[in-house]
């Protein structure tokens, strides 16, 4: 599972995951790094960013050539934390592998917002391993704008026992960018709930990928797991690939996933235009509303504001 890191550290290009690997079939890293860049600690300068109040902010600077980074965080039992992880873009072609460990104690609550920006030539993989204690609540929203190859992976070890997980996400992709959001929700014990809503938009020649796997282990009865992925294709040269998966070994469960791919509703577009709104604006309005739902689900106001600002910037990129 640590293909990019392995390849970078061992300087062995053949270890890069590619389309023949089931979990990487739409995020082929083979041939994207030729030759493999040297790994170093050197990072690019951080861009200015107004840090929201009341939120713990972690910033992950882009490497100059290639870098592997680790960070861990735990929220103690009964505590609540608002967290903003900003994966900074940097410039040029770089390779980054970011591994994050997150642990939530009993009854702890974490609201996590991930703002993933990468340069158009970056190959970037961010993996979060989240472990929940009984009664913990984990709400996450990932907003991504893609790269040459960008993957944001979240794996949640869910004990059941009243713990709740919500994994939301959105990707807004233009030009030739690629972004992959992959979630693995592992329900290991009885009585757990999880919910996921992912929305994506791909314009130009962009490629959006979503993979969501829900597993329910033997004995994890009473699990309620739901997942939904909706995507819009704004161009005939763009591509959306999706694989929502259910892997179920317990019988007393309620699991469901839904997946839709379509385009902007021509009638709604026509209506907006008939009211004097130029087509470009009308399209953006519809996209904003489509993704806006993800933003509105974010509970803490400072995180919601930061998310809204990030989306607004990206909508500008779609305007071009």
């Amino acid at each position: 599972m640590t293909g990019l890191r392995d390849a970078l550290l061992s300087r062995d290009e053949t270890r890069l995951p590619g389309r023949r690997d089931e979990d990487w079939r739409w995020t082929d890293l083979r041939g994207t790094l030729r030759p493999l860049p040297a790994v170093s600690d050197a990072v690019q300068p951080l861009a200015a960013f107004d840090e929201p109040e009341g939120v713990q902010v972690r910033r992950f600077a882009a490497p100059v050539t290639a870098g592997t980074f680790d960070a861990s965080l735990s929220v103690a039992a009964g505590e609540t934390l608002w967290l903003l992880d900003r994966v900074d873009a940097g410039a040029g072609a770089y390779a980054r592998d970011l591994a994050l460990d997150i642990t939530l104690g009993e009854g702890a609550t974490l609201h996590r917002l991930v703002l993933a920006a990468d340069s158009a030539d970056a190959v970037s993989v961010t993996r979060a391993m989240v472990s929940l204690a009984p009664g913990a609540t984990f709400h996450q929203t990932v907003l991504a704008t893609g790269g040459k190859r960008q993957r944001i992976e979240t794996a949640v070890a869910h004990p059941g026992a009243g713990a709740r997980a919500r994994l939301d996400g959105a990707y807004l992709l233009a030009d030739g960018r690629h972004s992959d959001q992959t979630t693995i929700l592992d329900h290991q014990g009885p009585g757990g709930t999880s919910e996921q809503l992912i929305r994506g938009v791909a314009a130009d020649q962009a490629r959006g990928v979503f993979q969501g796997r829900i597993t329910v282990a033997v004995g994890a009865d009473g699990t309620d797991a739901r997942l939904k992925h909706n995507a819009l294709l704004l161009s005939d040269r763009a591509e959306i690939d999706a694989k929502p998966e259910l892997e179920i070994y317990a019988d007393d469960v309620a699991c469901a996933h839904g997946n839709t791919v379509g385009t902007l509703d021509a009638e709604v577009l026509f209506y907006a235009m008939s009211r004097g709104i130029p087509e470009v604006e009308a399209r953006l309005m519809l996209v904003e509303a489509f993704v806006g739902e993800i933003v509105e689900r974010i509970g803490p106001a400072p995180l919601q504001d930061a998310a809204r600002a990030f989306v607004a910037d990206q909508l500008e990129a779609l305007r071009r």
């Binding site: 294709l233 259910l246 019988d251 839709t260």
Partner: protein, 490 residues
């Protein structure tokens, strides 16, 4: 009265051995030598009096097969198959081909009578005026025993015969279409089939003809350690229609037996093919001993504009099922449908689903898949919906529902969606649930036993698919569902 008789039969079937088709026919058979090499392929080809081009085709496939690896991505587990330990050809001994039913070995006739397959040209519901008729091609291990209603079909211009006969009588048609939908080296099992295929049905429906009756093939594996590698080729020419049914059974044995078939369908302009399968190969015993490995490649090519192919399958048998009936929607406005019920019980494993490849504009597809797992079994839906850049206006709707009965079974859903056209619309829904306690309680409070209640609810769950089957088969399939789930509750 009919209902009473029905009930009696169902109960009798439940009371007796669960797998009613598990008997062995004791008949003198001719085998190829054990194992697989070019000599065996030459032997099969010679047995069938094949022309040189087909032998070359087989040998080329064998060459390719040697270079391929057995696929391992499906969620099924089985011990490695020793391909050199199988017989690739088995046939009831006969001096010449039978001219009429009177020449057929009475043992064989008795076998089919026992299986309830009409080899005489009779109405399906004997004695019922105006009931639909079925033309049957009965395949026993590696050869076709008899094909009924050939003369009447010929009057309509429909060709329905064993593939080996078609190779002899219609070489141009066979040569044009064989391997054009499933290429020789498409996958490991299809490639193996291309090298050693022994029998199967060939159907050609000429332009504008609506096939006057349902066509069906009945496959029976009998011999020990024998693989069955049939190959079916159906061509519906412009504006034609054909409905084809397929049934399968095998004896109960402790050894696993391999069944690797290839089915190719070609639909030209405005043609429609309806293909229904009731697959009831021996599933192995409750501990997972024995049973058929069912590794099948089925694919339809909707080449013509507005052509249509509909797959309906009821999968209750086989120890392991690996099967993805697919549609290549090439013609503008063509459509594909897939209706499936997969039931696993005991130690059965099924990894099945479909692929809908939208290449042409305004192509449509619909997928309804119902999986039911009980016992220690595992059932996986694996499907692909792919929309290519030129498929403007393509539409897909997919629904997969899984039902779990008991604590030790598993159900998986693995849909793949690839969209590359901004004017396509794709929807996918999946749910996994168990039989609801409340529904069970309600039905039982009306006086049904637990077993009957489960059957009733399961039949409700799969109703959408059963409706797609021709009527007589729907009745049979419904019973099959009941028998397959026997003993899964309580």
């Amino acid at each position: 009265m009919a209902a009473d008789q029905d009930t009696v039969e169902t109960v009798a079937a439940l009371a007796g051995e669960k797998y009613a088709h598990g008997f062995v026919t004791d008949i003198e058979q001719e085998f190829s030598e054990r194992g697989l090499n070019t000599d065996v392929i030459r032997f099969i080809s010679a047995k069938k009096d094949e022309p040189q081009w087909l032998l070359d085709w087989r040998l080329a496939a064998y060459e390719r097969w040697l270079a391929l690896d057995e696929p391992d991505w499906a969620r099924v587990h089985y011990p490695k198959i020793d391909y050199q330990d199988l017989y690739y050809y088995a046939a009831p001994k006969q001096k010449d081909g039978p001219q009429s039913l009177d020449d057929v070995d009475p043992e064989l006739l008795a076998t089919y009578a026992k299986l309830g397959i009409p080899l005489k040209e009779q109405a399906f519901l004997a004695g019922v005026q105006g009931s639909p008729r079925y033309a049957v091609d009965a395949v026993f291990d590696s050869v076709s025993v008899v094909t009924t209603f050939k003369a009447e079909l010929a009057k309509a211009g429909v060709i329905f015969c064993p593939l080996s006969e078609a190779v002899r009588d219609y070489p141009e048609l066979v040569r044009q279409y064989l391997g054009s939908v499933v290429p020789v080296s498409d996958n490991y099992f299809a490639c193996l089939n291309s090298a050693v295929f022994s029998e199967g049905s060939f159907v050609y429906v000429p332009p504008g003809v609506r096939c006057p009756m349902e066509l069906s093939t009945y496959f029976r594996i009998n011999a020990l350690n024998t693989g069955q590698f049939e190959r079916t080729l159906i061509i519906a020419d412009k504006g034609s229609y054909v409905s084809y049914l397929e049934g399968c059974t095998a004896p109960m044995r402790d050894e696993n037996q391999l069944h690797a078939a290839v089915v190719e369908l070609v639909a030209l302009d405005d043609a429609e093919i309806k293909y229904s399968t009731v697959q009831n190969w021996y599933p192995g015993d409750a501990e997972g001993k024995g049973g058929i490995y069912n590794f099948v490649t089925k694919r339809a090519d909707c080449r013509g504009v507005r052509s249509k192919v509909s797959w309906t399958q009821v999968e209750t048998g086989s120890a392991i099922t690996w099967k993805y009936p697919s549609c290549i929607l090439r013609g503008e406005g063509s459509s594909g449908e897939f209706y499936s019920i997969a039931i696993t019980n005991g130690r059965q494993q099924a990894d099945t689903g479909t692929k809908m490849i939208h290449l042409g504009a305004n192509t449509r597809s619909r997928i309804i898949a119902k999986g039911i797992s009980a016992g220690h079994s595992s059932s996986t839906y694996r499907g692909l919906v792919s929309v290519h850049p030129k498929a403007t206006g393509a539409r897909n709707f997919t629904q997969c529902d899984s039902l779990l009965i008991g604590k030790t079974c598993a159900a998986h859903t693995v849909p793949y969606v690839e969209a590359r056209n901004a004017h396509a619309q794709l929807e996918h829904e999946a749910t996994t649930t168990r039989l609801s306690e409340e529904q069970l309680f309600y039905v039982m409070s009306r006086g049904l036993s637990q077993e009957e209640a489960v059957q009733l609810l399961v039949n409700g769950f799969v109703r959408e698919v059963l409706q797609e089957l021709p009527m007589e088969f729907a009745v049979e399939a419904q019973k099959l569902v009941a028998v397959s789930l026997e003993g899964s509750v309580g």
